[in-house]
Amino acid sequence: MLSYTLRRLMAVIPTILILIVICFFLMRLAPGGPFTSERPLPPAVMKNVLERYGLDEPLYVQLWTYVKNIIIAFDFGPSFSQKDRSVNDLIAQGFPVTLTYGFFSAVFVLVMGIPLGMIAALRHNSFWDYVMTGLAIFSQIFPNFVLAPLMVLLFTLALGLLPGGGWNGGQWQYVIMPAVALGTSYMASVARLTRGSLLEVLNAPYIRTARAKGLSERTILIRHAMKPTLLPVISYMAPVFVYMITGSVFIDIFFSTGGIGQNFIDAAYTRDYSVILGLAILYSVLTFVLTLIVDLVYAWIDPKVRSGLK
């Protein structure tokens, strides 16, 4: 298991390098650059600026310098659009915010979604099942850019319970709405996934075996049915985690949380090469790590997968 983990981690490095090369050239292929504007700069000024950021060098030299700085100094370069700020600064400032509400959003998705799905399955075809399923479909059809304004209308403007935006160092009142707005539709998917999974597991022959042993329904549910029920949920959560972190652009804009999604949008508009590259690397490392964690949890639960990992 340990050697498997290490091997997976080692594979990250070459993948990231390939990713850097692809992203680097893709950005340069697009017309325009960080210092193109509607009123062109005087040629002398332009020359100075390009020299200042090393953009006058040949592309392969630029690429080499970029990779070298990352390896030697873990320096992702200066931002081209925000004067005197480095990519490292921007990430250090925005990423903790995104990670905080992303984490609470994931907690919300699991803590609400799994029990709701289980209740619906255990009360199969009853009033509660229909209420849960209805609720799940209802929240699934609301994308976060519809849900967020509705929540602000209700909780901020009508009830005055929660602030309508801002971050304020991550105080809980400021975290709730971004986390819930980001997670609701995933929560609904998890609820439906859990419901379907548990219904299927409860029909499995080994659950009948457990009943034949004289175990109580409660013990059967916790001891025999829980693990297999959660397996599909766990597989589903890997891409969802990533998507919740990377897909937080709208949340950052709407709630002015100052998370990293805002930087991404700004950088794309201003062709801020180094910021875009830095964020792409961050997101892909995140994807690797989260997928690895999910795979390890999966292996921990499923002995068949575990014996396949050796």
Binding site: T209, H224, P303
Partner: protein
Amino acid sequence: MLSVQDLSIRFRTGEGHVHAVNNVSFDIAAGQKLALVGESGSGKSQIALSILGLLANNAETSGRIDFNGADLLSIPLRQLNKIRAKEIGIIFQDPMTSLNPYMTVERQLGEVLELHEGLRGSAARARVLEVMDAVQIPDAKNRLKSYPHEFSGGMRQRIVIAMALLLRPKLILADEPTTALDVTVQAQIMRLLDDIQQEYKTSILLITHDLGVVAGFCDETLVLYGGRVMERAATKDIFALPTHPYTRGLMRAVPNIHEPHAKLTAIPGQPPNQTQPLTACPFAARCQDAVMDCHSSLPDLTQSAPMRACLRPLEELT
């Protein structure tokens, strides 16, 4: 010891009711080995499941299943749970799916001891090992922490049997215990069951569609068709001289080692449609000996030997 009286099981489905078992009665004495024989859809497995209250949710039952004075069909789940595994064990058909793939073998066996006898730790482990040895699982000590997928089909079925034996129940329901296994493994498993039955003095209700399995094993055989008992007799009599037309049809469909070139005859027609309550003999439509009355009346099982439900048994034919 176990007495099934007038048991009927029907299932609610989208297209109405399916009458799987119709007014079946039989009993098993202590130490007896009784076979329930029938083709797929004859209701034999449902009878076994109903004894332990394991029928699917859409099942409706009527009648009584009397076990040492309690009616298993109506006692509360709490009481039934004290009988399950402790008094009546069950061996399921498919060892590939009837063990929990996410739990070690030790845990799956051990939880039975923990629940019914409060045994844990080394005491429980000793008992688990003892039973695993009894069902001849080689190197049991080193296989306690293994998961079901690490065993072969035959070994898994031995584990399932071990599970049923753990508490030395008075009755074991063996629901097609060898159907999912190779023929050679089948023979081993049947011999194992036989040895265990001799040693533990349990009663066994063997459910199978395989007459070959029954022949060397059971004292008595109950032949089911369309959810109804067709014939009940000593197994040797059934093989020597079957008297019910259905049983005779079954025998003609089994290869005979003494007449290797004899032609096998299948019973013509299809198993009955069970969506209507029975009003006539379910076999009448396929019976070569049927007369007019067979299509309109439902004969009861005779109460003394030869026990059968038929208007036209062998000796009536001339």
